[in-house]
């Protein structure tokens, strides 16, 4: 049984592409066949986050236009067995991809993969409508900021009115210290406002940027807290009820330090 999942947010810059890349790699690490589709036509970036930018020959719009077969456009990741990317065009605009194209494409991919994950463009216009058309599940990415949460709320409304019921939320860039001093909305605050189920929380971690710099998604990094957070999200997608991660990196660091010094 394969699943088509869209990763969306409304607001740009909250981490949709990073989340898509990490979930894709994480599912592949667990032995699943995964196709990641970059649906952000004109602003291609899932390829760079995954470190696959040098291997693009054909893209999504070539498949739609019939310039190549679907299999020719799929880039196979060499690090993660089973992970494939369908990049989009950098030069065309979003009108090149219509909802019906996405639907037929996803149907074709469904036969080849366990998970088809669509990285949705920011906004709620044409690109968004095309990206969500084929999906049966939705993940909404937000950060603990008013603008991101407001847009997430709007997107949840649009998803539900398009028949994508119960989307799940990923809260990205959470800073425990700021929450503790009352300067950042907590997980509970955000869930209370949005009224949807939580899929996971990602701490605001510099290592994510380091990973993106290298084109290596953090989910493959055993040392980092954010990598662990992504692996937990992957387990939840697979249906495992993993408890929420303790997001206190400093505590972990001090504990480690104590261990090194020999306090424990």
């Amino acid at each position: 049984m394969s699943e088509v999942i869209v990763v969306t947010s409304g607001k740009g810059g909250v981490g949709k592409t990073t989340v898509t890349a990490n979930i894709g790699c994480g599912l592949a690490m667990m032995g699943h066949k995964v196709a990641l589709i970059d649906a952000d036509t004109g602003l291609r970036n899932l390829d760079v986050v995954l470190g696959l930018e040098n291997r693009i020959v054909y893209d999504l719009t070539d498949v739609i236009a019939g310039n190549c077969r679907l299999r020719q456009a799929l880039i196979k990741d060499k690090r993660y067995e089973g992970l494939h990317l369908l990049p989009t065009a950098q030069t065309k605009d979003k009108s090149a991809v219509q909802p019906e194209h996405m639907i037929s494409l996803s149907e074709e991919l469904r036969d080849l993969f366990d998970y088809v994950i669509l990285d949705c463009p920011a906004g709620i216009e044409q690109g968004f409508k095309s990206a969500i058309a084929a999906a049966e599940k939705a993940i909404v990415v937000t950060t603990p900021e008013v603008a991101a949460i407001r847009d997430a709320d709007r997107v949840i409304g649009l998803l539900e009115s398009s028949g994508l019921n119960d989307p799940k939320v990923i809260i990205n860039r959470m800073r425990t210290k700021m929450v503790d001093r009352g300067d950042m909305m907590s997980i509970e605050d955000i869930l209370d406002i949005l009224g949807i189920e939580l899929l996971g929380v990602i701490p605001d971690d510099e290592q994510i940027i380091v990973g993106t710099n290298r084109g290596e998604p953090i989910v493959g990094n055993d040392e980092s807290l954010s990598g662990k957070a992504f692996r937990n999200i992957v387990m939840r997608i697979l249906g495992e009820p993993v408890p929420l991660l303790n997001l206190e990196p400093n505590q972990g660091f001090f504990l480690k330090l104590k261990k090194i010094i020999g306090f424990k």
Partner: protein, 90 residues
């Protein structure tokens, strides 16, 4: 003086999170109800017109807004009444 110093050095007690949450709540009530400020203005004008048939109201201080209670949105109108009109008995 001491009070001032402690206030200066202690964090503002409610934290900016509660401000964020409250602002978000209000803005979402409007977003979700799909009500624009213009629409509320129109509603306000209509309300004044209807109510003025029965009583004299303080239009300046009339307040119409959408508020959230638990999981419901309520239209709250605060309409100060200046004087009741004498309704001619029919």
């Amino acid at each position: 003086m001491l009070d001032f110093i402690t206030r200066l050095f202690s964090r503002e007690s409610p934290g900016s999170k509660s401000i964020a949450k409250e602002r978000l709540r209000l803005v979402l009530v409007h977003d979700r109800a799909n009500v624009s400020p213009q629409l509320l203005q129109l509603l306000r004008a209509d309300l004044i017109q209807v109510i003025s048939n029965y009583m004299e109201i303080d239009e300046e201080n009339l307040d119409v807004s959408l508020e959230k209670y638990e999981d419901q949105v309520a239209l709250v109108a605060n309409i100060p009444v200046k004087r009741m009109k004498r309704v001619a008995s029919s």
